[in-house]
């Protein structure tokens, strides 16, 4: 693992934040642009806009999964899923706070949510490191990153289900019918499954990133199914894009598995070892 160049954490953080926010804002802006133009362009833009939010959520998932990898390599003692769950728990409170508190300044919502989640993540990371004394060097930075990624994931995929991130519209379209729980939980799984699934001494970053893209695509497909009920055609579009992306990244993941595994055999007996 030491001779292969790994993508540095800051690059992935930039990818997550920029990609996430870009996708989220496109979901809001594209329909407005379509309204201004009118005609068939308007229908087209309204149909493809929610998928942008889901793609933004996917970028945040990849960022978060890599941050989970960095902190979990030190051995958390309680398992990898716990850090994903605490991040999503914080992420949902911070995300909704950020979107609701801005009232008329709707565009500021995601940024406020991102900052709030980072601050809470910083505080919890500080407590974990200094009060509970977990003694993990990267704990504070990674907890902040995972919480921020969590909030972007929730806003991105909620926007994909509701077509916007205005809080007043999120309530009937995402909270009432329970789809927020799907966003919360499937997003949390997408965040913490990649590292948990490739845990082992020969774990490679490339395989993990492809798996993170793949789980993100599955989340996108699920939000697409939910979007069929709330948005109609836009949901079908999101679902199709999600399935296509999943096929691409799942194949790439399997290519890496064939390359990395000791042997991939059709069947066989247990090979003889020294034990």
């Amino acid at each position: 693992m030491s001779d292969i160049k790994e993508i540095p954490p800051n690059t992935l953080m930039a990818f997550g934040i920029v990609g996430g926010l870009l996708g989220i804002y496109l979901t809001y802006i594209l329909p407005l642009a379509g309204d201004a133009v009118g005609g068939p362009v308007k229908d087209l833009l309204t149909t493809i806009a929610p998928a942008a939010g889901a793609l933004g959520g996917m970028c945040a998932i990849v960022w978060g999964a890599e941050a989970v990898r960095r902190v979990a390599k030190y051995g958390l003692g309680t398992g990898v899923p716990s850090i994903g769950q605490i991040a999503m728990g914080m992420g949902i409170v911070a995300a909704m706070f950020g979107l609701a508190i801005v009232k008329e300044l709707t565009l500021a919502g995601p940024i406020v949510a991102l900052v709030t989640a980072s601050v809470i993540g910083l505080i919890i990371g500080w407590f974990a490191q200094n009060v509970i004394k977990m003694k993990i060097p990267v704990m504070i930075r990674c907890m902040t990153e995972i919480a921020a990624a969590g909030s972007l994931i929730i806003i991105g995929f909620s926007a994909a289900v509701a077509g916007t991130f205005e809080f007043s519209k999120l309530i009937p379209l995402v909270f009432d019918n329970g789809f927020m729980l799907a966003v919360f939980w499937v997003g949390a799984m997408a965040l913490l499954h990649p590292f948990n699934a490739v845990l082992g001494p020969d774990e490679k970053q490339k395989r993990l990133l492809y798996l993170a893209f793949s789980t993100g695509a599955i989340t996108m497909a699920v939000t697409g199914i939910a979007g069929i009920m709330t948005l109609g055609n836009a949901g079908i579009f999101t679902l199709l894009v999600g399935v296509v992306l999943w096929l691409i990244f799942y194949k790439k993941f399997w290519d890496e598995v064939y390359k990395d595994a000791a042997a991939v055999v059709g069947t066989g007996l247990i090979p003889k070892t020294e034990a």
Binding site: G79, V80, P81, G84, Q85, D176, N177, G178, F179, L181, A182, W185, V186, A188, M189, L192, H193, N196, A197, V198, L199, G200, P201, D202, E203, K204, R207, L211, S214, T215, I218, V222, I225, A226, I228, M229, Y250, F253, W254, E256, V257, D260, A261, A262, A263, V264, V265, G266, T267, G268, L269, I270, P271, T273, E274, A275
Partner: protein
């Protein structure tokens, strides 16, 4: 709809039965995929040089993964019910989608974990992948079908209806079934089946970690053999646990109304269970006897 007491009790009993099936199948699904805590031994075995043909599924722990498939099932069911599908069809299709996604997660975990154990020369057996994954999907389908039906009954049939939506209730029951399956049935798999060639009647000695059974009664051990064994005891007991939870948490309020009397009855049930545990503890201690004798007697083995 307004329900009288008889109908409410009938529906409650039906809910208990659904929960029992879901609990049993959830535990068996975690045995056929080797998930959660006993999987740590399956993960450890190649490191100690014991290569194996067991499916190494590590999908973030049972509560999280069963919660995920339950909430996906609930979401798809809600969408289909909104399109005026018949209830049973909607729940079945929702469970199918959820189980397929769950199967995908399982394959990535087996492939990913084995690929990360390359230095121990553990091979990735594609025939294990091919015939165990459909079994996992089938078990999970039944679990999600039962849980989403449970959520549907609570949200739409029982009167008064529960304030939470179908995906939310399905998620909570999914987390609960995972927690129960992880606590109850996995012990039968981990302490008994994984180390079946050791003497019966003792806990696992720490020195034996990683030395799981790999050569079975006839041929090499795989996960289908494991689930066959656990279906005889571990699965049903897990089903009883979830069935009791679902039934007894709703029974007092259905029969005695939403009053302090119902709370009192609930607490009395808990006290009865505590006494039952104590009776079990005494019975087992007297039946099996201690591992070592008191001070100046010779050490007797179990």
């Amino acid at each position: 709809m307004v329900l009288d007491l008889t109908m409410s009790m009938a529906i409650l009993a039906f809910m208990g039965a659904l929960a029992t099936i879901a609990g049993c199948l959830e535990d068996l699904e975690s045995d056929v995929g080797s998930q959660s805590n006993p999987n740590s031994q399956v993960q450890l075995a190649p490191q100690m040089g014991f290569l194996h043909r067991i499916y190494n599924k590590a999908v973030s722990g049972e509560p999280v993964s069963n919660g995920m498939s339950a909430v996906i099932g609930g979401t798809v069911t809600t969408v289909l019910l909104n399109e005026k599908f018949f209830v049973m069809t909607a729940i079945a299709l929702g469970a199918l989608v959820a189980a397929l996604i769950y199967g995908i997660y399982a394959t990535t975990s087996y492939a990913g974990r084995v690929a990360s154990q390359a230095r121990f020369k553990q091979p990735l057996y594609m025939d294990i992948m091919r015939y165990t994954t459909p079994s996992i999907i089938a078990h999970n389908f039944i679990v999600v079908f039962c849980l989403v039906s449970l959520a549907y009954i609570q949200a739409q049939i029982l009167a008064p209806a529960h304030p939470f939506s179908i995906p939310f209730l399905a998620l909570i029951w999914g987390i609960t079934v995972g927690a129960i399956g992880s606590s109850v049935g996995d012990v039968h798999y981990g302490a008994e089946r994984e180390y079946q060639n050791r003497e019966f009647g003792c806990g696992l000695n720490t020195a034996l970690s990683g030395r799981i059974v790999r050569r079975a009664e006839s041929g090499l051990r795989n996960s289908i053999d494991n689930v066959w064994f656990c279906a005889k005891f571990g699965g049903p007991v897990t089903g009883i646990a979830l069935g009791l939870t679902v039934f007894l948490s709703s029974w007092p309020t259905t029969v005695f109304g939403y009053t302090w009397l119902a709370i009192g009855v609930g607490i009395a049930i808990v006290v009865v269970m505590t006494i039952l545990n104590r009776l079990l503890e005494v019975n087992v201690k007297n039946a099996y006897g201690p591992y070592k004798e008191e001070k100046n007697e010779k050490e007797a083995s179990a």
